[in-house]
């Protein structure tokens, strides 16, 4: 079942023509409206007129998260703020988030893409969809919301948390589609069991899960515990939010909505594009966004592209499920976390050379973050209450900066192993 059969089953030649037209437009738009891009193009010796085919994409400059940070908050917008009707933000590598903006047309595009995504996942106008993704600056909640409304489903905008209540409403409201992070879905299943509620008592049929990596094994567990068919969805706020790619019911890779985004796989070290079937870093160029179009955005996610036409009939290329990152970003309870954010908190409280380590555990089904901080000379005092307060203060500041809570533990100096090269900042004990 397609939301937009004409687009989703477009022939490859028609799709490529469309992509090329749209690529020309976004190159003009960024070149003329965004100083950062004009400079980046000029540094590469490329002008909009030089883009004569889709093949020429490889001559265009890349964009990284650092570029968004350097131009915080609105420096990369290609439209004046008066035309921006929505702002969203996502974790930055230090204290400041990365900011994206949407014009009215962008919101329209986003809703269209989410309608396609949700339809892939089994949503129709007769669905009752419980959106347990966070609402707010995070793109998950509102992204799914507008797509679901576009389809005409009955939307329960419940956001995250308050799990017992969520389950009660799931039962009372007759929810048949659940949208949240996969780890939250498993957690809900556990709480349901504790409450003595069996999946058969609920009307749940479909799950739309994303915002963090999850394995096929996890999928099987969720599907069996909740009695649903679950799909993986992919997106990132820099590209649009959720709605960049989605699995169909074949569950053999995620269809990238290529009429809006041109995907590439590159070698993360040499930056050379790789052919279909080879694993590397995912790069996207947005070809319809107006607010903050991005050219060759390096996602740091590792995946692979499969060109074969899917049994569902969609002609879009499929991306493999994300198998890792090329940087040290973590996703904990659906939130992007950079170790360098912890560093910026410690520098803020006056530490000049902080030594710290993040330890991520999956306790039961929820992720827990522990942060070890070596006691420095400036931190240590003969006051046990003072040291306890220090742990709490660091913990509170980290919660504010990262957006999730962490347990801070003061440890002895030199107890965190030093390395000759890059410090090992993260120990991820989760087996996803």
């Amino acid at each position: 079942m397609y939301w937009n059969p004409r687009c989703e089953t477009m022939s490859r030649s028609e799709l490529e023509e469309l992509q090329f037209e749209r690529l020309r437009t976004v190159v003009e738009r960024t070149y003329h409206n965004v100083p950062f891009y004009r400079e980046a193009f000029q540094n590469k010796g490329v002008e909009p007129g030089d883009v004569k085919s889709l093949d020429d994409l490889k001559y265009l400059p890349f964009t990284t998260k650092q570029d968004l940070r350097d131009n915080y908050p609105y420096g990369l917008f290609a439209t004046p703020l008066s035309e921006i009707v929505r702002v969203h933000a996502s974790s930055g590598t230090t204290g400041k988030p990365t900011v994206v903006g949407y014009t009215r047309q962008d919101l329209n595009t986003w809703a269209e893409l989410m309608a396609r995504t949700l339809t892939c996942g089994g949503t129709t106008k007769n669905s009752v969809i419980q959106i347990a993704y966070g609402y707010g600056l995070f793109t998950g909640g509102l992204g799914v919301h507008y797509g679901a409304e576009r389809i005409g489903a009955s939307v329960i905008p419940i956001s995250g948390g308050n799990t017992k209540r969520q389950i009660m409403l799931m039962k009372d409201f007759g929810t048949n589609v659940l949208a949240c992070t996969p780890s939250y879905a498993i957690y809900m299943a556990e709480v349901m069991e504790e409450m003595g509620i069996k999946p058969a008592e609920l009307k749940l049929k479909y799950g739309i899960f994303g915002a963090e990596p999850w394995s096929d094994n996890m999928r099987k567990e969720i599907e069996s515990k909740l009695g649903i068919s679950a799909i993986d969805i992919y997106g990132l706020s820099e590209i649009i939010g959720p709605g960049v790619a989605a699995e169909c019911q074949c569950k053999k890779g995620l269809h990238v909505f290529e009429d809006h985004f041109i995907p590439e796989i590159i070698d993360p070290i040499t930056e050379q594009p790789l052919p279909y079937g080879q694993q590397g870093e995912l790069v996207f160029t947005t070809i319809t966004k107006e607010g903050i179009p991005v050219i060759r955005y390096r996602t740091r996610d590792i995946s692979v592209l499969y060109p074969e036409v899917c049994e569902c009939g969609r002609t879009y290329v499929r991306m493999g499920r994300i198998s890792g990152r090329t940087d040290d970003m973590l996703i904990i309870r659906g939130v992007n976390v950079f170790p360098s954010q912890v560093e910026s908190v410690l520098l803020e409280i006056g530490e000049t050379e902080p030594h710290y380590q993040l330890i991520v555990n999956r306790v039961g089904v929820l992720d827990e973050l522990e942060i070890l901080v070596e006691v420095s000379d400036t931190m240590f005092s003969d006051n046990i209450g003072g040291l306890e307060n220090l742990e709490k203060t660091i913990g509170n500041r980290i919660e504010t900066t990262l957006g999730i809570s962490a347990k801070v533990k003061l440890v002895e100096p030199k107890s965190i192993p030093r390395s000759e090269g890059k410090a090992v900042r993260v120990i991820d004990n989760r087996k996803i």
């Binding site: 420095s376 240590f380 742990e391």
Partner: protein, 142 residues
Amino acid sequence: MVKQVSVFLENKEGRLVRALKYLGENSINIRALSIAETADFGILRLIVDKPEKASSVLKNAGFRVIETDVLAVEVSDEPGGLAQILGYLAKEKINIEYMYAFLARKSDDAIVIFRVEDRKKATQVLEEAGAKVLRGETIYTL
């Protein structure tokens, strides 16, 4: 005024032993000690015969060390002895952050170590009340 050596220790097996081993290997004798702990870490507080040497030995071994000035008071080793001393301090509203005690080998007295906010005032109050406040040198050479 007595110098106390405070050491940060993780609340993990072997940490305390490790610190004490370094002291032993460097011929440092411990007069008294106390440990203030939380679930994850603790502060080991030591009265030793050579506080400066203890500090540098432990610092070189990689521990976080700080020296704190504390008060040492002689208390007669009989029921009510300590309560009397505490009474003098309470009367002048002097707050005690922590304290611990040990027996003096060469006499029949106990020695109590106090950490107070205003050491000068506390010393004055105790001496005026007739209590014996001990100098560092006395403690170190016990």
